[in-house]
Symmetry: C2
Subunit: 187 residues, 2 copies
C-alpha cells in the first residue's frame, strides 16, 4: 500500500516512486502525546506539519485569558501558524494535541528548496493554500453573518468526524458560545 | 518604465522581457465605472482581477438584507471570489467598484495553463495565496477577539490609504458597526 502522504499528494498531482522518495526525504516524523505542544505563541515557527494520525487544535488566548479555537486538525490535514511560518515572525497562536498524534513535518528551508526544485510540489501546495484560504473565507462569512447555528453547521461540514473525537467544551470554544448554547444547537 | 504588473510580479520573482510578454498575453484589460459589478452572487466566477487603478469592495448580503464587506481592493491587489474561481461553484459574494477602475483579468483556463507551463508564476501566485490566507487568518483572530477597536486598527494597517478614499459607511459595514460607533473609534 502506498505511503499515506503519497496518497494524499496524489489526490492533486501524480508522482513517480523516485519523486515521492525525494519528497519524503525532506520530511521528519515525530510522535506527540495528548496535551503536548507543537507551536507556542511568541516563537518563530519553522515547521509545517502533516497529520498522519491524531487530532490537534490551533488557538489563541485573548486579553481576558479566554481560549478561542481557530482550527482543528486531523488525519491528512496540514497545520502550523502560517503567518509565523511564511513571514518568519512570532506566532500569535498555540497548537497542541487533543489526542496522541503522529506527525510528519517539513522545515521552512526544506519546503522552500523542494518547491523551488519541483514544480509539481509547488503546484500541490499552491492548491492546498488556496483551499485553506477558502475555508478561512467561509469562516469569516459565517462569523459575520453571526448565526451560531450556521457556524455549527459549517464546522460539522468541514470536520464531520470531529464531533465524536473532541470534548464538547472545545466545540464551544471554536464557536465562541457556552456549553449550554451548544447543547441547544446539538439537540 | 516597466509595466505596473511586471513591477508587482517582480517583487516576488524576476522575469525576462519575453517571459513578461508571455505572462501579459494571458490577461485582458477592462475599464469599469463606479457602481459597476465584476462579480455577482450566484454566478460561477471565471476571472481573477488585478487592480491597475481604482477601488473595489467584495461583500455579501445576509438574510436580513444587511451588507457585510469582506475585503477592499485597491491598486496592486488581486480580487475575485476565490471559492467560486477555484472550485468553479456559485459565488457567495458580490464585487463592485467604489471608484472608476481599470483592471487586468485572467481567466481560470489561462491561469491554469500559465501556472502549469511556468513554474515561476506558480510560485508567484502560491506566495500571493499564502499572504491572502494570512490576511484572512488575522481577520478571524480580530473577529474572535471581538474588539471593534482592534478590527479598526487592523483595517488601518492593511489599507492605510483606504480611509481617504471610501465613504465612512463602508468602513462601518466592514467592521459591522454603526456610523456612530465608528465616529467614536475615529476620534
Amino acid at each position: 500500500m502506498a505511503h499515506p502522504l503519497r496518497q494524499h499528494i496524489e489526490e492533486i498531482i501524480s508522482l513517480t516512486d523516485e519523486e515521492f522518495d525525494f519528497v519524503l526525504s525532506h520530511f521528519e516524523q515525530i510522535k506527540k502525546r495528548k496535551h503536548q505542544y507543537i507551536v507556542q505563541e511568541g516563537e518563530v515557527v519553522n515547521k509545517e506539519y502533516w497529520i498522519i494520525k491524531g487530532c490537534l487544535k490551533s488557538y489563541f488566548i485573548d486579553a481576558n485569558g479566554k481560549e478561542h479555537i481557530l482550527q482543528f486538525g486531523m488525519e491528512n490535514w496540514w497545520i502550523t501558524d502560517y503567518e509565523s511560518f511564511v513571514k518568519q515572525t512570532e506566532s500569535k497562536t498555540f497548537i497542541d494535541c487533543i489526542e496522541d498524534s503522529e506527525l510528519l513535518y517539513i522545515s521552512f528551508e526544506n519546503r522552500d528548496k523542494l518547491t523551488a526544485q519541483m514544480h509539481k510540489m509547488e503546484r500541490f501546495w499552491a492548491k492546498k493554500s488556496k483551499m485553506g484560504r477558502i475555508a478561512l473565507q467561509n469562516r469569516i462569512l459565517s462569523l459575520l453573518k453571526n448565526s451560531t447555528k450556521e457556524q455549527y453547521d459549517l464546522l460539522l461540514e468541514q470536520y464531520p468526524k470531529l464531533f465524536q473525537r473532541v470534548p464538547k467544551k472545545m466545540i464551544a470554544a471554536y464557536l465562541g458560545v457556552s456549553r449550554e448554547t451548544l447543547s441547544r444547537l446539538n439537540s
